[in-house]
């Protein structure tokens, strides 16, 4: 415990999240995993966007950047390409990642850039008080869906896999141990890794939809999540209304920044008479 606490900026605590919110649970799972892996604090960058989940970066004792809405992965792409040796982690939410940031998400997955993206899915925009998001289930209420959400939600796992992510997992703020296991594999994967953490938002999503308090929302996660291994041998009708957790995909593929570094090496071999650039720019060798 004390080791994982060391990954927090303790003078920035307590956090701003509501009682019963799952974001703290997810952030705790991340720090415990980093501590378990013994990752050097000076070698980590945490990048976040805008929203409740994205406040996590401010509490963590790394180089951290709280970017603009939807842009965390694009900022992270610049950081990772600049410093492939550093561990780059994106902390984002369902709205930040899949609505305004959807384009960056799918292209980072396509490139298979070595970034671990943790998507805290609380089914709505909490920071702006409960509007529906691209991951709000159909029929559920939001402050901009007063008659029920008529849109269909993303299945983030399938989206990530289709776009080329090489490690994809899903857990919940109830299944904390599983979450830690998935985060560990995601952090060790050389490529674009996505871990979706289904979390409760008792203040907005829960209250609007009369789902009860924080404990009821944790209970809902427990009752509706089915591990992908168990699901494999279950009859389809038994899976109705449930969602899958566990490791959804794990398949190695060439990683973008390593590929680019290999390109640099081959280009430099080709121009082996390199003397500070063919155009004479001696001062900007890297």
């Amino acid at each position: 415990m004390s080791e994982s606490l060391d990954y927090f900026r303790q003078n920035r605590l307590p956090h701003i999240w509501c009682p019963g919110c799952g974001h703290g649970t997810v952030t705790g799972a991340l720090t415990r995993t980093l501590a378990k892996l013994g990752i050097d604090k000076n070698n980590v960058v945490v990048v976040s966007g805008i929203g409740c989940s994205s406040r996590a970066s401010g509490y963590l004792d790394f180089d951290t950047i709280h970017t603009a809405h939807g842009r965390a992965i694009a900022f992270a792409t610049g950081i990772k390409l600049s410093r492939p040796d550093m561990k780059v982690i994106v902390m984002t939410g369902d709205g930040d990642c899949t609505a305004i940031g959807g384009n960056h998400f799918i292209h980072a997955a396509r490139r298979n850039i070595d970034i671990t993206t943790i998507v805290m899915n609380n089914s709505n925009y909490g920071m702006t008080s409960g509007q529906y998001s691209p991951m709000t289930p159909t029929g559920m209420l939001g402050t901009t869906a007063p008659y029920g959400n008529v849109e269909r939600p993303f299945d983030l796992g399938k989206l990530a896999i289709a776009c080329g992510a090489t490690y994809v997992g899903r857990s919940t703020s109830y299944h904390v141990q599983l979450l830690g296991e998935l985060l560990e594999k995601a952090l060790l994967n050389k490529g674009f890794s996505v871990v979706e953490a289904v979390v409760g938002c008792p203040t907005y999503f829960g209250r609007k939809n009369k789902l009860g308090g924080a404990v009821d929302m944790f209970t809902w996660q427990k009752d509706h999540a089915v591990n992908v291994k168990a699901a494999a041998v279950m009859a389809p009708e038994k899976l109705e209304g449930k969602f899958l957790i566990g490791e959804l995909y794990n398949q190695a593929a060439p990683e973008f920044t390593a590929q680019y570094d290999a390109l640099i090496e081959s280009v430099r071999r080709k121009f082996d008479n390199f003397q500070g650039g063919v155009r004479g720019c001696a001062q900007n060798s890297d």
């Binding site: 842009r71 900022f75 610049g78 384009n103 799918i106 430099r268 650039g277």
Partner: protein, 377 residues
């Protein structure tokens, strides 16, 4: 011995960037700026630099801010629609004080407009495109060699003041080919950002004076600092105190105001004793130069004031010249943008005449000559 080369403005911008230390480029293809991305994709790997074609212009500016935070010299290049998309993160660069350079090769707008045609319609957007009060520096090259020089200057200012710097080129300057003699690279002054000495006690947004520039640590060097687009205090963490947020905005603005006399850049021709002063920038200034020379040949006392820093505008030198001139003519490829600033600076000391053109064709010198002579009679 430097040799003369035939090159276009976009190429000169890229070479200038490389000479200034560019080692990270992120961009998205858009006419008429694309040659810059193409050349960067070819040249950067040779020096171990990084190039990435992002999924859009928002991603491009985000990626260069990220790269700059790790200590790289980072740039993007774009035009109208892409420049519009970048506006939010220009504000991010300004408030978080992460240096970046943006080359905006202007084209006809609004919207998709005419991608391959000339306009100078982004003057106000370059200054005020993002929301909120914010500092920004805008440089306007008037020929191909200046694309080289001013891109170097853009990097130096960005690194020195920790501000976003925009090189406001245009379709004609960007695509025009001229014979250029580049300077001896050893003579080029390159400014690097000032870094703190130790992580102990590091306050990332502590400025030692009003309008001061805080020291910037690169990510990955053990400082473990926090960057945000929220209003923040000296620690870099968000604040809800109105007073602190206001002081931050004032310091950011003062940074550039204080530096104005140092970064100020302009050229004049026959301006000391002129009756008619033409004020022009970018490609319009090429036509204006020719017009002024023709007017002189005809015995009309015409002169030229050509700002290269257009934001902040070089007020003082123009005000001095305006006090002596009988008329001021402002030709620009828009319906009147820089002229608003000139009217403010001149403040009635001389009548300011607008010469606007938005038919996508560069001014013919005769058009400006006609305005010079026509009004003199």
């Amino acid at each position: 011995m430097p040799e003369a080369k035939l090159m276009q403005g976009n190429e000169a911008c890229t070479l200038g960037a490389l000479a200034a230390g560019l080692n990270f480029f992120a961009g998205y293809p858009i006419t008429p700026s694309t040659e810059i991305a193409e050349l960067c994709s070819e040249e950067l790997p040779k020096i171990g630099g990084k190039f990435i074609q992002m999924e859009d212009e928002i991603g491009s500016i985000a990626a260069i801010i990220g790269a700059s935070l790790t200590g790289r010299k980072a740039m993007t290049a774009t035009s109208g629609p892409g420049f519009s998309l970048m506006q939010e993160l220009i504000g991010y660069s300004a408030i978080s004080e992460v240096p970046i350079v943006i080359i905006n090769v202007q084209r006809v707008g609004p919207s998709t407009g005419m991608p391959t045609s000339l306009a100078q319609g982004d003057v106000m957007q370059a200054r005020w495109g993002t929301h909120g009060d914010h500092p920004v520096v805008v440089l306007a090259p008037g020929n191909v060699r200046e694309c080289f020089d001013l891109t170097i200057k853009a990097f130096n200012i960005a690194e020195d003041l920790r501000v976003p710097v925009i090189v406001l080129s245009d379709e004609t300057i960007g695509h025009m080919r001229e014979k250029v003699v580049l300077p001896d690279y050893k003579s080029i002054k390159v400014v690097n950002r000032k870094a703190p000495a130790t992580p102990a006690g590091y306050l990332p947004y502590k400025a030692d004076q009003d309008g001061g520039v805080p020291l910037m640590a690169p990510f990955g060097a053990g400082y473990r600092w926090h960057v945000t687009g929220l209003s923040h205090d000296e620690t870099g963490f968000p604040t809800n105190k109105g007073e602190v947020a206001g002081d931050l905005i004032k310091r950011l603005m003062r940074k550039v105001e204080k530096a104005e006399p140092v970064i100020r850049d302009y050229a004049t021709e026959s301006a000391d004793d002129c009756d008619v002063l033409v004020v022009a920038f970018g490609s319009s200034a090429m036509s204006a130069t020719s017009a002024v020379r023709q007017a002189r040949a005809q015995g009309v006392k015409a002169g030229l004031f050509r700002p290269k820093t257009i934001w902040p505008f070089p007020e003082e030198p123009l005000r001095e010249l305006a006090a002596k001139a009988k008329r001021i003519i402002v030709p620009e490829m828009n319906l009147g943008q820089l002229v608003l600033e000139i009217e403010r600076v001149v403040a009635g000391k001389a009548p300011v005449e607008r010469l606007s053109k938005v038919n996508c064709e560069l001014f013919r010198p005769e058009e400006i000559l006609k305005a010079i002579i026509g009004g003199s009679k």
